[in-house]
Point group: C2
Chain length 436, copies 2
Amino acid sequence: MRVVNIGLCGLGTVGSGVFNVLARNSSDINARSNCQIKVAQVGCRRDNSSCDLTAVDVTRDIFDVANNPDIDVVVELIGGTTVAFDLVMTALKNGKHVITANKALIADHGSAIFSEAESRGLIVAYEAAVAGGIPIVKALREGLSGNRINWLAGIINGTTNFILSEMDSKGREFSDVLSEAQEKGYAEADPTFDVEGIDAAHKLVILASIAFGIPLSLDGIFTAGITQLEPQDVAYARELGYSIKHLGMARQTEAGVELRVHPTLVPERSLIAGVNGVSNAVMVNADAVGTTLFYGPGAGAEPTASSVIADVVDVARLMNSNADSWVPALGRISSELKEQTLLNIQDVETGFYIRFSALDQPGVLSNVTKIMGDAGISIEAIIQREQPAGESYVNVIILTNVTKEKCLDEAVERIELLDTVRGQVNFIRVEYLDQH
Amino acid sequence: MRVVNIGLCGLGTVGSGVFNVLARNSSDINARSNCQIKVAQVGCRRDNSSCDLTAVDVTRDIFDVANNPDIDVVVELIGGTTVAFDLVMTALKNGKHVITANKALIADHGSAIFSEAESRGLIVAYEAAVAGGIPIVKALREGLSGNRINWLAGIINGTTNFILSEMDSKGREFSDVLSEAQEKGYAEADPTFDVEGIDAAHKLVILASIAFGIPLSLDGIFTAGITQLEPQDVAYARELGYSIKHLGMARQTEAGVELRVHPTLVPERSLIAGVNGVSNAVMVNADAVGTTLFYGPGAGAEPTASSVIADVVDVARLMNSNADSWVPALGRISSELKEQTLLNIQDVETGFYIRFSALDQPGVLSNVTKIMGDAGISIEAIIQREQPAGESYVNVIILTNVTKEKCLDEAVERIELLDTVRGQVNFIRVEYLDQH
């Protein structure tokens, strides 16, 4: 059996997972790859007590691994986008295939990395960069290769999904759940990357590039976090038959591509509404297959290792065949990647959930519905609920059909000017998922 | 661009789907495969009005396609296991790669077909044979290649899932829904293959071979249909927090492999319980990744075409590279496939739902629970409900923890002998899915 020498850079959570799963399942992995997969060197700042490194060459300098002539494949699991980028480029320049779990690196520097790899006849694989253990990159690049993708909707950040699930099932406040998530290790000390949707945006950009054949770029992607979400909206949504999820949405429209991450109402009966806790799921709608969904753990040592090792097996199997037989990095040969217009959020069409505070008196609703009608917005449902204080104002909640955001904004502005309406009109976007 | 000549055999539902999707999405498909995929010949008994065949060489004899020296890849979509087998073997003998959507063919003759292909250095691909448009073969063979699979649970027959969904949501009788399904074209005139679980067994055998590295064989798989299922059991299951699904279960245990298809209670809160109508889904539990789920349409012209074309792209990309770089037919090199003991259903451990009719008087339940205790079975829940007739007998419904079926059988036999119990004890297996 041909030996494939792996150089593992980084021995933190994911690195130790990869090391241990490769050791535990080596006979299955070798039977599947028809190679002997061997971790020949590990580069890490410190040993990890969960890994038995006695038989392994360990270096404290990860660049030793990228420069080691015996290494065939460098696995980058150090994270970040500066040293990791240097490491990956060094490995490629030294003729090594690269596997990474680093979403920020691929979203930020993917084009440069893929182009370097292509010019040198090397593979860069990154299944673990999106949705942890779910083989969604493979599903999109290969499993659905006969399709035109219409849209995809992903729960691709486990931290925000955990927080929303807790808010939904227990009526808790955002800040309260966040603290718990930080204690449990589901959220970082600085949770900005997760709760503001930046991490999800990185992953969405990668998925969208594959889905629509567009070059990787974070420019212009609309990103809204979950920090402003209130328990009352979660409860009203539930009452209307919806769950609130932090969705990454990518849609191909005639006018261009939509790329956006924001809190979203989805119908409770849709499968994705049942995805709770730190799990991830990506729903893909395509012209031939219709709607599919891919579910699994979005993070964690061994789930992520599962995806890294799937890449190891693919690379080991393919590395000695000619580059024409490899799946292109973004699913299409690079000359076929084409820029597309990215739609401004003002031009995006979704449904809307609207909440505002209005005087509990006749005529108020007719003014509001007239404004909606004038803006060409049709209404799916209206409910009125007393406010906790029990005063003369009530909460009005409206669910609209699919409409352009600029029309909604116009209507919102006019509603806020009504004497009978107090304060701001809050809104959350709605995806009906089955429609348009 | 290299031209790859496809010979399409069969132009029924799936064949026409493949033909039309290949035509419609040709520019995307060529960009993904880096080849020009061309349907060079179609073999069919009659033209299909949905397909524009003007530019295509059409023959009425499918063996013309298998013998045509210009054809690189034969796509078998005629169904059945006799002529289809001859066709596939002829194509292989003539040095052509083969793609098929035929589950019965692979389950029955896969070993012979794969061995012929391997000896000739050819690829046989069959993504569409299991779960229609869901790329589950790819997910198991490649996406989860770093894992040991613990178990998989599949809703892999759309007809039975449609029937069960209707029985569940509307309280309808089996025979009533079956008639409707036949009218709508979801069920065949002779529905035996679907409702008795034979079709699901074919698919389960394929999935289990890949999951556990065992040779394909239908021998000894336990198969029970849904024809005996009563609306009252669907309703009681719901009351207890469960849905009844017709599951294909494959589990690796220390004593051997379980392979079984039967009606199964699954927790309502599990994602697979929300898979309704003609959809399919496969849940996979593995040591590294944990639990994943793959959902999508299980049948239909274009969903099935989606999987067939994914295979076309893979084969087109790989056919000129050496065979070592191909994914082995069942995910492992053939020398690594190993027979395993198939567990008798008596030795399988599941939970059980039990229903029987008992006199509504003190002491009855204590006799029954004593029998369960003697058999080493612990009880999860008991409910008693008046029978519609409103007589002196009540329905007793018991949900047990996981226990060996032979213990349950013993207990059932003793319960049936009680004077206070009338008629038969009915039972349905339960999978808790999160446990053991």
